[in-house]
Amino acid sequence: MFLHYLDLSWRSFKRTPLVSFLMVLAIAIGIGVTMTSLSVYHMMSADPIPEKSSQLYSVQLQIMDDGSTWWTKDNLPLQLTYQDAVNLNKADAGGKRVTMVRTGFSVYLDSDKIKPFIGQARLTTPDFFDMFNLSFLYGGVWSEQQEANAAPVVVISKELNDKLFAGENSIGKIIYLDDASYEVVGVIDDWDITTKYYDLNNGSFNKTEQLFLPFSLMKARQLENWGNTNGWKHEKTNTFNDKLNSELVWLQFWVELKTPEEKQAYQDFLMAYMQEQQKLGRFNRKQLEAKLRDVNEWMQYNNVVSEDNEILVGLSFMFLAVCLANILGLLLAKFLRRASEVGVRRALGASKRQIFYQHIVEVAMLGFLGGILGIILAQVGLLGVRQSYSYYKSLATMDLSMLLSAPVIAISTCVIAGLYPAWLVCKTNPAIYLKSQ
């Protein structure tokens, strides 16, 4: 019967093409707007590393003395001091761990073919690549020894390798960062993450870095932090060493903990570490506090998806509701005009339920057609967003789940809008129409 109902729906569409097209268009516009905002929201809030997001933890320590406050909702600083980051990295606790900071260089080659340009860089300990599931096209990560010795080595992105070396194997080649030479030891493959979850300080949706260097280079070459540096008390930081020994927070620290037991053990370790530091004169406070947040918790804590985006999605659904209200009116008119035919069908043996299903199938078909057209409109909308703001380039896209959910949303919302007209037409008294037809 379903196919028969589909056939009847299509005939009904053709019988009143203008009204039917207007309904499909109204659904399509509603779905187009909704899917545009929903797709961006979906990409913003999507888990950037689903295979291990619950095993990677950002570490926060409450370093402030009693009486000081931070702007976060739980009063915890978002980053770590240099001394804490280094100590935690050296300690024999937890699984893989990464200490890192954002920096940047003027990049050039010993050649006049490439103009110098500013390259975004990350100073990081070697576990970074394995922890965040990066794969190498050529070479690999620097060794522990190179890390310890602050060796002038660099891992570059595929994009940078394409730009500097035309995509060829560049292992062993030299690039210049500011005035120093660095040997390329690895080239990572494309790293397409929608949210730069590992460092949310300078734009949650910015591109990942092009250059990755040993963290130890920072101290050895006194490299500048290009990210955020925050403090909570007055300190003299006239020299680079002052900064390293200060209570300024400017480093990100992540640890991989595979089980709840490992997490608990690391939590205990952090508390023990803080108590030890307290004895050295730091953390002048009654209540010590350390926090571990996994990737999704971290994104939520940092309000990666702002309230504005949520309001925008809500508004777009309200717009869809307005479109559906119009469709409801058109459906009422269309269905009630058909009451006499329904009367005949009822007389010929159709139950109210069968009449109801027939009309719901018709509404669902309109929803499906509207959903398909809506996807096309949403693609146009997303293209517009991408072209207007480069910031949204990787976010204003529709992935497979959104592509599939568009017709589902269209059909289900249309069916909801069609319930009342379908119910109304199925409960009409056939006897009235049989005589008057």
Binding site: M1, H4, R11, R15, S340, E341, G343, V344, R345, R346, A347, L348, G349, A350, S351, K352, R353, Q354, N429, P430, A431, L434, K435, Q437
Partner: protein, 235 residues
């Protein structure tokens, strides 16, 4: 076949209460051909609608083939209607978007009959009403008489034991009316029970049994005919 005991049907509006049927009693046996006559507004069509389970009644008991219709829900009534009853209307009531084949197919689909069996029955019914060559025509491409024959074919396709006809010749000229009547008589001879509402005394006379509905009740046939004769004589 059909038994109505003290059926009452009241149409209620805010201002007026109209008794369409009042203590209506009727028994129709298997294989009968009954003509129902009566003045306009007497309740003939209401009786036919209740007989066809298209309208509920307020009081009384209606048994169709021994089944108490008043105790059935909508789905059960629809099934029973689909399996036992065929309708023929004055206005034909063919669905304009469907060709003749598809129009006749409608009740068969609701009964869940397989496509091959549907095809066999439709072709047989179209043959029976003499329209086999017009299967792909739309209703509006046919004359009134042809459309009514299609409606009869549609009623017959479900092989109903009970045919309800509401002024089946009302929209036809006398020649076509006669052809349709002959067709109904043939169907009755083949075993179907027919109840036909008509205003046409000539058609009513051709039915073996006549009943009249006056003011929502069955009236005495002889008395009614006598009154009509007196009116005709100008008394």
């Amino acid at each position: 076949m059909l038994k109505m005991n003290n059926i009452n049907k009241v149409y209620q509006t805010e201002m007026v209460q109209t008794h369409a049927l009042r203590d209506f009693n009727l028994q129709v046996d298997e294989g009968e051909f009954i003509a129902v006559t009566g003045p306009s507004g007497s309740g003939k069509t209401t009786f036919l609608n209740i007989a066809g389970m298209l309208e509920p009644f307020n009081e009384g008991q209606y048994l169709l083939d021994g089944i108490d219709v008043g105790k059935l829900n909508d789905n059960q009534r629809a099934d029973l209607r689909n399996q036992k009853i065929g309708f023929i209307f004055q206005g034909f009531n063919l669905i304009p978007d469907l060709n003749l084949y598809e129009n006749i197919e409608v009740p068969l689909r609701y009964r869940g009959i397989k496509a091959a069996e549907r095809k066999r029955r439709i072709e047989q019914c179209l043959e029976q009403v003499g329209l086999a060559s017009r299967a792909k025509h739309l209703p509006q491409q046919l004359s009134g008489g042809q459309q009514q024959r299609v409606a009869i074919a549609r009623a017959l396709a479900g092989e109903p034991r009970f045919l309800l006809a509401d002024e089946p010749t009302g929209n036809l000229d006398s020649l076509m009316a006669r052809q349709v009547m002959e067709l109904l008589e043939q169907i009755n001879r083949d075993g179907a029970t027919i109840v036909m509402v008509t205003h046409d005394p000539e058609l009513a006379r051709r039915a073996p049994r006549n009943i009249q509905v006056v003011d929502g009740q069955l009236a005495d046939l002889t008395l009614y005919q006598g009154t009509q004769n007196l009116k005709a004589a100008g008394v």
